[in-house]
Amino acid sequence: MKLFRTVLVGVGLACAATNAVQAAETAPSNVTHDDYGSVAASLTGVAGDPARGAAVMTDRGLGNCIACHEVTALKDAPWHGEVGPVLDGAGSRWTEADLRGIVVNSKMVFDGTIMPAYYKNSGYVRPGDLYTGKAGPAEMPTILSAQQVEDVVAFLLTLQD
């Protein structure tokens, strides 16, 4: 997971020199939610990949979304929880901006929700280093990278009624 993240960052940096869009990746502290919590602008400017988004959602160390949500389209992945609503049709119920807002920081959309904020890196109580139980680094990483958020949003948009 750490290695994977490093590779992503490395790729991001390499592109930054040549690709103005990539350089515009929005830092967690610079994301703006509107009054309903939605985030209109892409975090990266690079279109999300729904297949990669699906993988992020089922990966225990990444989104682990199915721990709480049932998603019929992901039923091949084991153990869907029932803490959150079934996500079937989420792409019809919500706009792209809404879904980005929910994944970035669902607390901006649903006050006090149990759902974790995936693109945030401060404001925690006793933040840890992944699942080690040890203290986290001074600069906490976000749970998902900016592009992973875009990939998840792209996948959610495929969930049409």
Partner: protein, 283 residues
Amino acid sequence: MAKLNLTTALATAALLGTASGAWSDENATLIVNGEIEMVTRTAAPDHVPFDEIRSGWTFRTEETQVLQMDDFDNPGMIFVDQAIDTWNTAEGSEGKSCASCHEDVESSMQGVRAVYPKWNETAGEVRTLAMQINDCRENQMGANPYKYDSNPMAAMEALISVQSRGMPVNVAIDGPVSETWEKGKEIYYTRYGQLELSCANCHEDNYDNMIRADHLSQGQINGFPTYRLKNAKLNTVHGRFKGCVRDTRAETFSPGSPEFVALELYVASRGNGLSVEGPSVRN
């Protein structure tokens, strides 16, 4: 012999996958050895925001539940037997065993588990059972303390719990312990870690829901120490707390820390009225 085979088969089924196991019968009752009737569901005490409190046993699959119904099937009882030997073995500079002071465990330790953690007037502190065990070892026996969540500690706690099985948990929350209780309550409702989850998020707001393959319980500790099929050993209360905090991607507290002592008092009090079950069996 037939019974033994059945048990092994059941244990294997439980290990293979909790979610695929048979759902527990909502109205199943827990009677251990055909004689100890356990209260596994009862009216919540005033300080708990539920109508009914429920033992973790009621949330497990039938395969796991049945392992706690007979001491011959309960793998936790092996450790109770080991602790009986320890009880009678002299250790430390004073040449004393537990039995030197407390004699017969069955009579001297009856009812003890049910009221811990509790205030110790002489020391002026809230004591967990583990703290009391180590106090005896250090100050009465001149022996080394057990590591707080170690196997010998869990085994000794199990032996002492067995003497209270079926008795209602009855932990005091007022008087000198009230400050510690309030601190434990605050910890229970604090959203820790990068996932920003409190105990209450899972065990109060979502008990009875599935989170991944786990059927969320109310997180009661009346069954501790608990034998888990997952790691095949007895697990202490603080060991479980540590695991749950770690799973929020947080920096955990240490077993035996003042924070976990306070949390134990608070969580124990949420189970006032349930029976002492330890050692219980969980997946």
